[in-house]
Assembly symmetry: C2
Homo-oligomer: 391 residues x 2
């Protein structure tokens, strides 16, 4: 018996593997050989989950809270999230519009399934988080990639909507703060985009998974501008809960029952111990810990950004959020993937090549994550400097 | 601003809401009003997760093991699962072929994304677990529903493959033990089906999520017959870990890298604390607990099955697995959904109407779950008897 005559579904070949996976595999190999690899490729905080959240998770397990929850999540968690929007952003959200998901990934899956017919386009910036593109492809949709640069702070703006929206465009997707660029969409830009999208009967999707991780500015939410936006969020990044697989989405009223139905089919429910643990995420003592960490991320950015610029890399827009610096390296190479590989081989610094985020200038850019401590970052900068001198 | 001009993707309307959700909502309401509802609609074990697994989960949290794992799962868990196939079923599986997923649901998602092009058919029995149909629809595929009855033990057989397979059929999907019927596919039937599917260059998908929960017979795996089957499994049912959201799939060698790529995009990784906890699931002291529970499920079935038959319900094939009895109630009603509603209103017994499992005889059947203790089941039978007398 053999599956050799069998072809995978066509969508599979339209989803490219991430280049960083090769680098990661090689980094692990080098580490196994005893090399001291510095990880600037990672997309998750280096801090462990805050103690009160850990404690709440352990308590839930002790109580045997291990069965399925309703597909849309524990009612008390949906309320706690609504409370968070009130406290942190001053917006009123009906908890019934909040759907708890297995990571922001689960929210992206639901939204793509809900909005995208085969052939439909969803407009998004290039560069962007690669999974955002691929969720659209998963459902036979088309990511409508708009090359963006420093002039729009690496974000979509109203001009892009006006210029590129067409008959098949169904939605525009923003990510603020952005992965990989760390840039934000400001309130006025958001308002203009929101109006332009609504005027075209489109849906607005806002990926706010790095919300809270901003430096020198305060985070906002697209919900304060457009109450009918689809907003994606996560306990992964600001709340430091990546492995717990917990996120949420806020949807317009009339989408909730359909999203709930999809959730009942595609994931049944988000992890139960994680949901109980997350109830502790909004407590003042947890927030105090998270705010300290935010300050630490700010210090790292304030070290790394000038250091990379000093090495001649171009970072034309100061990244104000997430934990990434998206740097131009065209003075060093015209193949940044190769450059990343060489840097790893010679100096054991792992980074993510621009290619993973799109096509726009992708071979001239590298993403550096500062989700590692400042001593490591200092060492990394030294190593990169030496690597540049010796190439 | 309004989304009123916006239509959801077409697939959404092809996925019907579960009727049992209405019943469940009503059951909760009745409970809130102080009614003593007996739950025979539930699809999860009533036992809490076994103590050694809880302990392992707590230990993982204490150690701060809360970051993403590789998308395909912790290597040590993949090895433990491979070890389980060896110990329990005597089959050798390369751990590299095992992908850890957020529940069997995550595995179903990956498999559907990998195999199903728009318009492709996947053959499956009617009645069947409703999400299996809907995963295919999610990807614009078509569940090719084959009405099955007592003559094939409510399962697909080789005759169905030969008769119904057509140009657009890409795969056949079995579920053994089956939800809702509790029936199994025997080894010879499986061999015949497997050969017929392979001869047509199709893929064989086996949903084995109730594996281990068999009574009077031992479980087997499709892998012992077809090494290239796509096999879906879960920690939810036999291992009693529903809310932890953890399952796995075993795939043919040449599918692994594509599935890994899909997993990197659609869920990033299964929950980390759950994965560490599951390492304790295969330990002898855990298995001892699970085997006691299995014996308890057997006792319940042995009580409930004759009791329902005595009430005149038809259960022509003895269910040998899972924790469901799929009973014909056509002597009582020609609308089993209404019957379920009335039973709930009058006697506070919640059940699942046949309609949720397909179209084939669906209005003449009801699924009774015995995932509740025997005293409750005894009471339920009394109440149902009274309900029947009084209707
Ligand atoms: C922009 C963006 N969106 C979504 C995700 C998904 O995160 P999760 O599923 O852990 O919430 C990530 C993770 O790196 C991300 O960077
Ligand atoms: C036949 C069948 N397959 C798959 C699942 C999904 O279970 P889980 O995602 O919890 O592993 C269920 C749950 O009830 C089921 O009955």
């Amino acid at each position: 018996m053999s599956l050799s005559g069998f072809q995978w579904a066509a969508r599979v070949s339209q989803i490219a593997p991430f280049h960083v996976m090769q680098l990661l595999a090689r980094a692990r190999q080098l580490q196994a050989e005893g090399r001291d690899v510095i990880h600037m490729e990672v997309g998750e905080p280096d801090f462990p989950t805050a103690a009160p959240v850990i404690q709440a998770g352990q308590d839930a397990l002790a109580k045997g809270l291990t069965q399925y929850t309703p597909a849309a999540g524990l009612p008390e968690l949906r309320e706690a999230i609504a409370g968070h929007y009130q406290t942190a952003y001053g917006v009123d959200i009906d908890p019934g519009r909040i759907i708890v998901t297995p990571g922001a990934s689960g929210a992206l899956l639901l939204i793509a399934a809900l909005l995208v017919n085969p052939g439909d386009k969803v407009m998004m910036a290039d560069p962007t988080y690669p999974c955002n593109r691929n969720f659209m492809r998963l459902f036979e949709g088309e990511p409508q990639l708009i090359p963006v640069g420093a002039d729009s702070e690496y974000q979509l703006n109203v001009g892009h909507i006006e210029q590129h929206w067409d008959d098949r465009t169904r939605a525009a997707m923003l990510a603020t703060p952005s992965n990989p660029t760390g840039t934000l969409v400001g309130k006025e830009a958001l308002q203009a985009i929101s109006q332009a999208v609504s005027a075209r009967n489109g849906a607005l999707i806002a990926d706010e998974i790095y919300q809270g991780l901003t430096y020198g500015v305060n985070a906002m939410t697209a919900l304060s501008v457009n109450d009918e936006a689809f907003v994606i969020n996560s306990f992964s990044k600001y709340f430091g809960m990546t492995g717990w697989r917990l996120g949420w989405l806020v949807a317009p009223d009339n989408a909730v029952s359909e999203l709930d139905k999809l959730a009942q089919n595609v994931f049944l429910s988000a992890p139960t111990p994680s949901q109980y643990a997350a109830l502790a995420a909004f407590q003042p003592e947890t927030i105090a810990i998270l705010e300290e960490r935010r300050a630490e991320f700010a210090r790292r950015r304030d070290f790394l950004l000038p250091a990379l610029r000093e090495l001649g890399m171009s970072v034309p827009v100061t990244p104000e959020g997430a934990f990434y610096i998206y740097a131009g390296v065209d003075h060093l190479t015209d193949d940044s993937y190769q450059w990343c590989q060489d840097l790893l081989e010679q100096e054991f610094v792992a980074t993510t090549p621009g290619l993973d985020f799109g096509l726009n200038g992708a071979r001239k850019t590298v993403r550096f994550a500062y989700a590692t401590d400042i001593e490591q970052l200092e060492q990394a900068v030294e190593r990169i400097a030496r690597f540049i001198r010796q190439s």
